[in-house]
Symmetry: C3
Subunit: 241 residues, 3 copies
Amino acid sequence: MAVFVLVHGSWHEGTAWKEVIRELEARGNKAFAPTAAGYGKGADKNVTHAKCVQSLVEFIVKNSLTDFILVGHSFGGTFISKVAEAVPERIKRLVFQNGFVVRDGYNVMDESPPATAALFERMANESPDKAFLLPFPVWRDAFINDGDLETTKRTYALLSPEPLQPSKDKLDLKKFYSLDIPKSYINATEDIALPPGEWGWHPRMSNRLGLYRLVQMPGSHEVMFTNPSGLAEKIIEAGRD
Amino acid sequence: MAVFVLVHGSWHEGTAWKEVIRELEARGNKAFAPTAAGYGKGADKNVTHAKCVQSLVEFIVKNSLTDFILVGHSFGGTFISKVAEAVPERIKRLVFQNGFVVRDGYNVMDESPPATAALFERMANESPDKAFLLPFPVWRDAFINDGDLETTKRTYALLSPEPLQPSKDKLDLKKFYSLDIPKSYINATEDIALPPGEWGWHPRMSNRLGLYRLVQMPGSHEVMFTNPSGLAEKIIEAGRD
Amino acid sequence: MAVFVLVHGSWHEGTAWKEVIRELEARGNKAFAPTAAGYGKGADKNVTHAKCVQSLVEFIVKNSLTDFILVGHSFGGTFISKVAEAVPERIKRLVFQNGFVVRDGYNVMDESPPATAALFERMANESPDKAFLLPFPVWRDAFINDGDLETTKRTYALLSPEPLQPSKDKLDLKKFYSLDIPKSYINATEDIALPPGEWGWHPRMSNRLGLYRLVQMPGSHEVMFTNPSGLAEKIIEAGRD
């Protein structure tokens, strides 16, 4: 039996992992999915990246979690990198699921295609709380491209506005890059939430991990919704000794 | 029920889609596969790219086709780009199946590896009608690499000489790149008709579409022959709302 | 019925192909897997690349093998390139299975990421016989990333020290690049023994073959251990006419 802590990405919250947790637990594991500060409907969007990370560390400490596999999806990759700096002794392995692996001193905006970064910044600045939602056509074609229309609409309704500031905070990752925690990268082969190639997830992000275990599966950025059973199996494979 | 218009690429004609049409129609859809002017055995090879496109537009108008999904395979990607400029209001979505997405002002020769472009031009110029056939070893190993020898030979016999001129015509695609018709790209993961990487189909061609839905499947450039059922399913997935 | 000669890579010896041979022969084929000079436990590690190749050519000649498909895995790609120069008339097709395709005048060190090459050279130089073993964490996460821990440990015990010199010998491959023997490349899609991208196997190595047949399968660099049945099927597909 393994213990997993699953960290969501932009626009998502912990409940997005619901079906994946069911699949992990049906296979004899235990899984937790906290929601970072500033995320979810109705949350106060006035947060920094550090505050998000702090809320996740507090969840881990409060629940006395140790010897767990820490999984970060998408933007959640930045959260688990900083959580690993805070409580490395508690973590057995880090798993990035199409997750951001940011260079030391950079932010997520730097790591995103300039046109996308500019669009997101403009959308956030048009909102009073500097938070913004992903446009539906982008969700449908570039995020959940393996989902049918019903799934696409049902899951779009689960999303909530993304606070801009965490994407703008430059991240000091010197300690992260010196940690000797084993690492894995799960890549869904049809994930185009970042455009494949120069700005893509894999191998651009994954290779930055140095020695890592690659695990791939068919599917989009949102396999947590379109294939939770397959994703659970890959998380187990990525996390095993 | 959806309506599909399937546009062939170089050396092929409309009948190449025969088995795919059967599979699409067995799933409750309707599909058409016109042959572009200048294509097919015995056709007059003295055509321009514009004339090919015109013949396809005439087919669509004559058959009163509207609200259809327009699919272009390989060189057919250039045809559907220009057909979309001519009759955008009739098209629900564009689907490129390992199709050329040419930059505005360029031609297919510009988009092909220089050695290949030079070989094709030389072969065409050795022929009285400036048309040329793909050499069998290239067909076997780089186009239909997932086919057994029997399939490879049977389908090679279906090919006909490719007129050179449409590959040399520079294409004005300004309007195409301004259209807001949704787009999808189907990539067969073992397609090496264009060499993967710098000169490859995906993500080089696909990313040029801007926002698009990626759909992938195992197989070669010629899945229409080696896996028509699988291709039909992917065309449906690429074309759905 | 086809005849296969299977050539191992670094740290491996001929017996690594045992299960693949069983699968090939269960499908009506015949297969041989010689061990190159200098390879295997207890072998004299004082060899050059030329001596390794000579030992493989002698095996082929002694066993009167002709009209066979020559398969090279990993470093074995360099061996089959030179064997093909020595006895081209005996070979029906060359199959590189995530194999090195070295540029004329270069060596395997030149073709490897500089940090890896430096690590291997340092490890070899610390050993009296200039031979070195792959560290277990690298084997587990970057070579056999699709294997469970039991398989990973069992197969690690089969490895033996790699002589450094063959990786340092510059290879004259002018004749190889002029041979018209058909070629195939088998790529396992999760193989990260070379980091994907700039230093990866495919398409960097494969495209150097010019015209080749691409065959892909899921799995790591060590599918000979984790999926011998699947690999046997892909070797047959890669090798067929």
